[in-house]
């Protein structure tokens, strides 16, 4: 017999003898090394969500800067420097989940979520299993919170609020009152929840809701849906969309001559800087809901007021903040405050502190219900004026009056 197979055989047998069953488990040093507290964040730095991932990272970075400038995080009697360890999940949910396990290996128990509902939904069960704790700053779909997870807390208002807020604003402010509303919705879970929430509120308030039109998520061509509603002559078209579809709706509506007298409203897209840049004049007077606006009431020791936050982001990144920046910063803030309140970096104590958290901030009120959702903060409704989002609702945060009817020229 040849020598090589024998050598390989014996080498491998040695390896097998080391065998046991099961893995080595994870280290758990609470993520503190020296005087630095490390929080794990898996970001969509590449892939289809790269844009939103980038905005989220900006919010986290500003938070780290501000927290450390204020002296760091106090826990266990020590002042710790805050650091966020980033990993790229390439916009894929299974990678995002895997990264949470990898963070757990390194003893990083405090996690900031990835962006988007699919990624966050994949991370939540892993966090639950590993005994970590996660603050969700990017996944709004209510379904994440109806699965019995106790260790994930969302600082953002749930998806069902996105369109419902717009409808409520129309009800309160629009005179003459529009009668017929139609929802154009993407078919992913988040957008469908948005549409359902908006439809329910619209029905409750007495609007006529035409049958909703759905199109594939991330489509750049929504012309068939627009074509279908053109004949039905809606007063307002509300889009439950993300950036790509949102821009497509406005652009193609203009091309196809779809001109609802009450104009357009959309979720997610209009407050972002890309919306007015790609649409130019067509973006004027489009309504939207936002997780945050610079006139939100409340302030905190780290970011100051909402206006202060706006100035800081503009200075650091050269663009006006959109709500992705803000909700990310809020998530980081919530985690930091929980650590301070618990006076510990132990995951269980932080988790309990988060459940009890009730504070005002530059982001509005941060408090979680029993499911982990922040239902105590209302979303702002904005209107795009001269390329900038201007808050028009609720009344005590409004910067300007609603221009009605809003038109997309």
């Amino acid at each position: 017999m040849d020598r090589i197979p024998i050598m390989a055989l014996s080498g491998a047998v040695t390896l097998v003898l080391v065998a046991g069953c099961g893995s080595r488990g994870a280290e758990s040093s609470g993520g503190v090394s020296g005087d630095t507290l490390t929080i794990g964040a898996s970001m969509s730095l590449t892939g289809s969500l790269a844009r939103e991932g980038q905005l989220t990272k900006e919010g986290y970075d500003l938070c780290v800067e501000k927290v450390n400038a204020a002296g760091g995080v106090t826990a266990g009697g020590k002042k710790l420097k805050l650091k966020i360890a980033y990993q790229d999940d390439t916009s894929k949910p299974d990678t995002a989940a895997q990264l949470v396990d990898q963070f757990n290996d390194k003893g990083t128990k405090l996690i900031l979520s990835s962006y988007g509902t699919p990624n966050t939904a994949a991370q939540a069960p892993v966090v639950e299993r590993n005994g970590q704790v996660m603050v969700d700053a990017g996944g709004a779909d209510d379904s994440i919170f109806h699965k019995g997870y106790k260790r994930t807390f969302a600082v953002l208002s749930p998806a069902s609020q996105y369109a419902a807020s717009i409808v409520q604003a129309l009800n309160d402010l629009a005179k003459p009152r529009p009668k017929k509303i139609v929802f154009l919705s993407a078919d992913d879970g988040f957008s469908k929840t948005v549409t359902n929430g908006g439809t329910a509120t619209a029905n409750k308030l007495g609007f006529t809701v035409l049958p909703s039109q759905y199109f594939p998520e991330a489509s750049t061509d929504v012309s068939s849906s627009l074509n279908k509603v053109k004949g039905q002559k809606p007063d307002v078209i509300i889009g439950s969309v993300h950036l790509v579809e949102g821009v497509a709706i406005i652009k193609q509506a203009h091309e196809l001559g779809v001109k609802p007298p009450g104009g357009f409203a959309e979720t997610v897209a209009p407050p972002t800087p890309d919306f007015p840049k790609t649409l130019g004049k067509l973006a004027e007077n489009v309504l939207s809901s936002s997780q945050w606006s610079p006139t939100v009431k409340g302030s905190d020791k780290i970011f100051g007021t909402a206006k202060q936050f706006q100035a800081d982001i503009t200075k650091k990144y050269g663009h006006t903040p959109d709500y992705h920046n803000a909700e990310a910063a809020a998530g980081c803030l919530a985690l930091t405050l929980a650590v301070q309140n618990a006076n510990s970096t132990d995951a269980n104590k932080v988790r309990d502190a988060l459940a009890k958290l009730d504070t005002m901030s530059a982001f509005g009120r941060i408090k979680f219900n029993a499911l982990g959702q922040n239902v105590y903060k209302t979303m702002s409704v904005i209107q795009v004026r001269h390329g900038k989002p201007v808050t028009v609702w609720p009344k005590d945060e409004a910067e300007a009056k609603l221009i009605w009817p809003g038109t997309a020229s």
Binding site: D2, C21, S23, D105, R129, D188, G189
Partner: protein
Amino acid sequence: MAASAVVLRSPVVRRWWPWAAGLVALLACFGLQSLLFVGQERIVTSVFMFVALAQAWNLIGGFTGYACFGQVVFFGLGGYTTAVLMSHLGLGFWATLPLAGLLAGAFGVLIGMPLLRLRGHYFAVATLGVAEGMREVVTNLGSLTGGGSGITVPTVGSAAVTAYIGNDGFYVLFLVLAAVAVLAGGLVGRSRYGLALRAIHQDEDAAGAAGVNTTRTKVLTLGLSGFLTGLVGAAYAFQQITIFPDRLFDVEITVLMVIMVMLGGAGTVLGPVLGAVALQFASEWLRQNYTEAHIFILGIVIIVAVVLLPQGAVNYVREARRHGEYSLLANVRRYRL
């Protein structure tokens, strides 16, 4: 005695050596588990998953030469079968696992019959069309599959018939699936069946003339490939708990399979294993150490690997040993225009 560059081995050794080596490798992988932390365990688990997927693709794409660009449809069908059966009918995972594989395999036979008549390129894109179309169909059957909102396998509370087997459990499950796939590949590679596949690859008409029932062989192979892929898909769905159509029918999974098989060496048994291991570890390592630019570097690595080893690593080694010519540059010169 002729001065031959070929190393002669006794026939007995040549026959059982690979099987013994495979068994040892399998045992070693079991042993490896106790050395790994949970996150590392997940990485190795994903390597096993891709080994299984690559081996399955190799059956139809490597041996038979019919590159199925829609392979992920079997993955997705297997995953969704498990998820739907577990959440709607309350079946246990172990009951749905073979069902998922069988459904995917049957689907492979079903689409194989009309599509395997097409020539190479057209077959490839037709299967791609099937995969993409199936994704859209699954997205649209919301009441059954949850559509764009995804579907969740019940793992908590009373609805969970099968307890979640955890990272340790999935390590073993995917390792077993990988072993099964490699075994299948090995058995196919060394049998008359495998010879028939290779004959079809080299010259289908001649193979037919020599008595191979090409249609039946091809369809069966696609079915087998689909079956194995479906099993992996089912395990994946259980592991991820919540699955979405975009991810389970993602064309990138097929592309990764193709890359792994071709870089490792198509039509060999060791090739897909090597390719899967190398690519997964490379992309993981790059991602952990170069957070911003890892995809860019991965692109360069793939290009360089392809240019230097166009025939795949295992085939390169075989040809090099046969001709005694080990220079990579000579290799490049052989394949360039």
